[in-house]
């Protein structure tokens, strides 16, 4: 049944990757086999260090991480990833978890916290959620990248006008602020809307928001 669910991953997308970090070889191998049996690509590592050495592909991925790792605990590793801005969704697994440990992991953004032995469906569901979350993240990252590219095609004066109008200034205020005529402002504004591909002023405001360029009215 879960086979169907996993097949819901769009074919056109590059294949998602599930990383497994567990110092226990049997667990590592079993998990990898389970993930492969439902058509997922799995990559397993014994230590956090080995995982960090791998360059993350530009596809949805997630990490199945044992809490108890030699050297560095899974929770500490989670914190280290966060501080390094590596935003990979994490599913924690543990031989023996307690509530404070679980709370800490979930607060730090873990997708799920599973205690061994766990039901395969629970893990696969969690993997699904994690990959979906990562896919969304990828999408929004992609969207912002596209916006940045469009914004870069604007002239400096157009960028300034976009910042001012999305910040709530009237055309004549913009003209006064920048030191150009109101008519020139209107021309720039038309160019900005067209070049950014905004269907409405509201959409332009949202774009400015995402780009972080809205100039707040003083």
């Amino acid at each position: 049944m879960s086979v169907e669910r996993t097949s819901s991953v769009p074919r056109g997308d590059p294949q998602p990757v599930v990383f497994v970090v567990d110092d226990d070889e049997s667990v590592r191998k079993g998990l990898a086999s389970l993930l492969r049996s439902v058509g997922l690509r799995a990559e397993a590592f014994a230590t956090a260090g080995e995982f960090l050495a791998v360059k993350l592909p530009h596809t949805p991925c997630c990490l199945i991480l044992d809490v108890r790792l030699p050297g560095l605990s899974g929770l500490d590793f989670q914190a280290r990833l966060a501080s390094a801005r590596i935003e990979i969704p994490i599913i924690f697994i543990t031989g023996h978890g307690d509530i404070p440990m679980t709370v800490r992991a979930m607060k730090a953004g873990a997708v799920e916290f599973l205690t061994k032995p766990f039901r395969d469906q629970d893990l696969l569901d969690a993997v699904q959620v994690a990959l979906e979350r990562d896919k969304v993240r990828h999408r929004s990252e992609d969207a912002i990248t596209a916006l940045r590219e469009k914004f870069a095609t604007l002239t400096p004066r157009e960028q300034e006008v976009m910042a001012c109008v999305t910040g709530g200034l009237l055309n004549k205020q913009v003209a006064a602020a920048i030191g150009i005529t109101e008519n020139t402002v209107k021309v720039h504004r038309g160019n900005v809307t067209r070049k950014m591909g905004a269907k409405s002023f509201a959409e332009l405001v949202r774009m400015a928001d995402l780009l972080g360029v809205r100039r707040q009215a003083s």
Binding site: G30, S33, L34, G71, S73, G95, H96, K116, D120
Partner: protein
Amino acid sequence: MRKRKASPRRAPRRGSAPRPAAKRQPSRRPTDHAQAPLPALQLIYDTAPVGLAFLSPDCRYVQINQRLTEICGIPVADHIGRSVRATVPQVAEQVEALVAAIKRTGQPITGIEVRGQRADGSNADHVWLTHWHPVKGSRGRIVGINVVAEDVTARKRAEHELVERERALRELNETLEQRVAAETHERLQIWTVTEDLLVVADREGTILGVNPAWTATLGWPASELVGKSSAWLLHPDDRDKTQAEQIRLGGGRKTARFENRLRRQDGTYRWLSWKAVPDRDRIYAMGRDVTELKDAEQDLRNVRRELAEVSRRTIMAAMTASIAHEIKQPLGAIVANANAGQRWLARTPPKHDEALECFHDIAADGHRASEVIQSIRAMFEGGEQPGGPLDVNALIRETVAILHNELEAGGIAVELDLAPQLPPAPAHKGQMQQVVLNLLTNAADAMRGVTERRRVLTVMSEAVAADAIAVSVRDAGPGIAPQDAARIFDAFFTTKQHGMGMGLAICKSIVEAHGGHLSVASEAPHGATFRFVLPGDAA
């Protein structure tokens, strides 16, 4: 001084010896003149132990015996016819006065003390008790004086000494009284001021006297306590043992330390610690109020019990966590593989090779889980059974291999310095592996923060005396702070951020259960060495 033999028959002949009319020996003298003196009588006269003389009324010696001449040291012959003044001038005045008095009264004078002297003063100390009797002629006229002189020097001295002795004794008695009074006062002070309860009782335990501390401590006036036993004051739980102790005391045995509770007037109880001595028909006892001490002890016991309970629970939790983790690892793998196998077989077409591998791994992990349980059981089976002969070098190599990944991940180099001819140790493999594993893990942990030097972990084995072997694990970490060294083997003591503080405590107990010893030393310039010694078969 005494000349016994000197008594020649030299009866004085010279001088006009008057006829003595005395009744005693001298009275014979005149007769001697008249008739020949009886030789026996003369002998008595000469050898009498008292001094005898017969003086003429004008104080001249008519007759004198040897004994009396001892006063002056002049021979008998030289006395006769000579005056007293000429022979013994020192006493002449006294003698002349006596003779004059007798002549006047005609009465004898007795009991006169005369201090005799020689011219050379050598008998200055002699005292003579003298008796003077007039000897009357036929017409009642005094014809002479008979003198009897008894040497009372010794008696006088004895008397004197006696008086002296009595005086000294009296003085002694007087000072003794004072001393006794002073000491009694001091002892009474102790009795009065001490905070300890002092009691005198008879052998049956009837109180004969108590000191004021009783009232101060228990509130009861002495009048309520004296005359009966203390049984009515006893805490009901202490009655039997107190009675037993009293019987022991009554039987003549000392009480070195005995504790019971006595009731205060306000109904509360005070703990008293007793010392008591039986002496003749009395028992002397001293009790100290130890109530505060007992309360503190009780508090301490409670805290200890709580701590022990907390420790027990924490150990159980730690053990459970550890066991759970160890077992759930293979169980997790088994379940994952079983699920994977099902899914491989459910695919179209089924992937048999993948499924087979899953089943293979399931079996392997099943065995692994079983081994874990086996080793846990071994761990709990106590240190009594020493286990078979253990090749400690092999154990070290095996354990280092188990930790290989972790050590490599931590950038730690392992150096083995194992003695080639190491005798096998009668030790339990599972338990010793736990110890070595723990020491290696600790060493690795200690070097985690080390960046300025190589992270080297040295494991050394050596044969030491009497078949014993020693294993040292040295790290290049920061070493052990002196304040931590004493507590490092205590349970729940840890310097690690996420440590339980159980590892070294367990290691120590395992090594000691094998009759061995685990110690730690800091190394210069850095690092620490944990070393354990296991006794051989000989031990």
